[in-house]
């Protein structure tokens, strides 16, 4: 990229953001609302949250819940998906159930989570686990099923046992598709943690949104919490994107050169 191109890549988005904030400011003024906060009020809200230490603590609590639920989904989903992809007969038996459960919004599970775990941290983590599990499981299953027969044949030709074939050929061949599922799942997990915290717990960014509204209609804090959620989601996505640039998986994320 030329230096001019790089400058544009920074300046243009910054200009777009500035226009949006200006529009927001003008809209608040023009409508004379005293419910919806101005950008300045939100900035002061951020400062207040930071001063009380809530911003960091709530972000940390939300991230820990995601880590627990998402981590559990990784531990269960990847091996289960690889197994199902490797045993098409089992997959055919189980697949209808998976396809039935998959389109159910994780939010529909909230009552079930509360019945099982009470209004608790575990209920929130369980929801995140469920929400992340299906994309991970399905991508691992499809990834393994889609490994070209040529790779498997080559592996068998070199005398690999079934176990070695799975770990040295099938898993690395399926990895780009699995990573795509992981990225999708992390995005969903971050959305679901916010929803789960509105119902089941008394900390976290989702709780901050609902609590700020309920306790005194502090919409400046609501918007500050929303923007924090967006920013953290953005960072998470950038981190996962990084993983797909590793050399051993990059082949699966671009058109192969002829």
């Amino acid at each position: 990229m030329t230096s001019r191109g790089r400058l544009e890549a920074i300046l243009l988005p910054a200009a777009a953001a500035a226009v949006l904030i200006a529009f927001w400011q003008v809209a608040v003024r023009w409508t004379g609302t005293n419910v919806f906060p101005s950008p300045g009020a939100v900035a002061r809200g951020f400062a207040e949250l930071a001063r009380k230490g809530l911003l960091l603590r709530y972000s940390r609590d939300s991230l820990l819940r995601v880590a627990a639920g998402y981590g559990a989904a990784l531990v269960v989903g990847i091996p289960a998906g690889v197994f199902l992809g490797w045993r098409p007969a089992v997959a055919r038996a189980v697949n209808p159930v998976i396809q039935l459960l998959r389109p159910i919004s994780p939010l529909a599970w909230i009552p079930v989570a509360i019945v099982l775990f009470g209004v608790s941290n575990v209920a929130a983590v369980f929801l995140i686990f469920l929400a992340s599990l299906f994309p991970i499981l399905v991508s691992a299953m499809n990834g393994v099923r889609g490994v070209p027969a040529m790779y498997r044949d080559a592996g068998r030709n070199f005398g690999l046992s079934e176990r070695a074939l799975l770990s040295r050929v099938v898993f690395p061949a399926a990895l780009p598709e699995i990573l795509t599922g992981l990225r999708l799942a992390l995005g969903i997990a971050w959305i679901v943690v916010v929803a789960a915290e509105m119902i089941a717990v008394d900390s976290g960014l989702g709780y901050l949104v609902i609590d700020s509204r309920n306790a005194g209609k502090r919409y400046d804090l609501v918007v500050a919490a929303m923007l924090s959620i967006g920013a953290i989601g953005l960072v998470l996505n950038l981190l996962v994107q990084r993983v797909s640039r590793l050399r051993a998986v990059r082949w699966g994320f671009r058109e192969e050169t002829p």
Partner: protein, 259 residues
């Protein structure tokens, strides 16, 4: 008219007898191979030549142990083939290299059981043999088609197999790279003394490479004729004998060598 030469003396490495292959689909049975019989001597280079889709790849997959024939048998060193075996390696088109491994990782793929020092030494040897020095750490997607094909050949040779099966290995390469690769394969074959079964639909390629060319019919494939190529290497591609043999095969297949 192609003069038929007596087969060279030498131990039979591979023997195909009475081989039939029929694929069963729901509507009907498709006969792909009919009554194939062929003996290949140790160290011989045999090309199996036939039109696209005739079943020659199926034949190679059966001989390599990836498919079980409907009837008949394949024996290698007198032993019935029951599955793939590292003593005989199948080389796919260059798409068979593992994209998640470097050149080094690919070439060393079948060497897991060797002590690390020996493994390194072998990898270095075969990197040199196929002319990929300096690309040891490169990933396949960073290489050209010809280089990927070299990686695959080197990966096969590294485990020191007796037999190589090559399924139209140069089919996806441009014509110049293809000529270079043929030369290199011949050099490697002479240096490493392998028995080679090479499937192709390219008449010129078969006459340039093989000791004998097995000409197949369209599907269901039978052996139409086996043509010994009595030309020493390196072969002069404008010599009278080369042209005679080539044109003989064109005629055999029923193609006038004109366009």
């Amino acid at each position: 008219m192609i003069p038929v030469r007596e087969p060279l003396p030498g131990r039979t490495k591979l023997e195909i007898r009475g081989l039939h292959m029929t694929f069963r689909t729901e509507e009907n049975d498709v006969a792909v191979l009919e009554d194939i019989a062929l003996g290949v001597r140790e160290g011989e280079f045999v090309c199996i030549l036939g039109p696209s889709g005739c079943g020659k790849s199926t034949l190679l997959n059966i001989v390599a142990g990836f498919l079980t024939p409907t009837s008949g048998s394949v024996r290698i060193d007198g032993e019935e083939v029951r599955g793939p075996d590292p003593r005989r390696i199948f080389v796919f088109q260059e798409r068979g290299v593992f994209p998640w491994l470097t050149v080094e990782g690919n070439i060393g793929f079948g060497l897991g059981r060797l002590p690390p020092g020996e493994r390194e030494r072998r990898i270095a040897h075969y990197v040199r043999l196929v002319g990929l020095e300096g690309f040891e750490k490169a990933y396949p997607h960073e290489l050209s088609g010809g280089m990927k094909q070299r990686v695959e050949v080197a990966r096969a040779l590294a485990v020191d197999p007796d037999v190589l099966f090559l399924d139209e290995p140069f089919g996806a390469l441009d014509s110049i790279t293809r000529l270079v690769m043929r030369g290199e394969l011949l050099r490697i074959w002479q240096a490493e003394q392998k028995t080679i079964l090479f499937v192709t639909h390219d008449i010129e390629e078969s006459v340039q490479l093989a000791d004998r060319v097995v000409v197949m019919t369209a599907r269901p494939a039978r052996i139409r004729r086996i043509v010994p190529i009595d030309l020493p290497h390196p072969r002069d591609l404008s010599s009278r004998r080369y042209l005679e043999l080539r044109d003989g095969i064109f005629e055999e297949i029923g193609l006038a060598h004109k366009i």
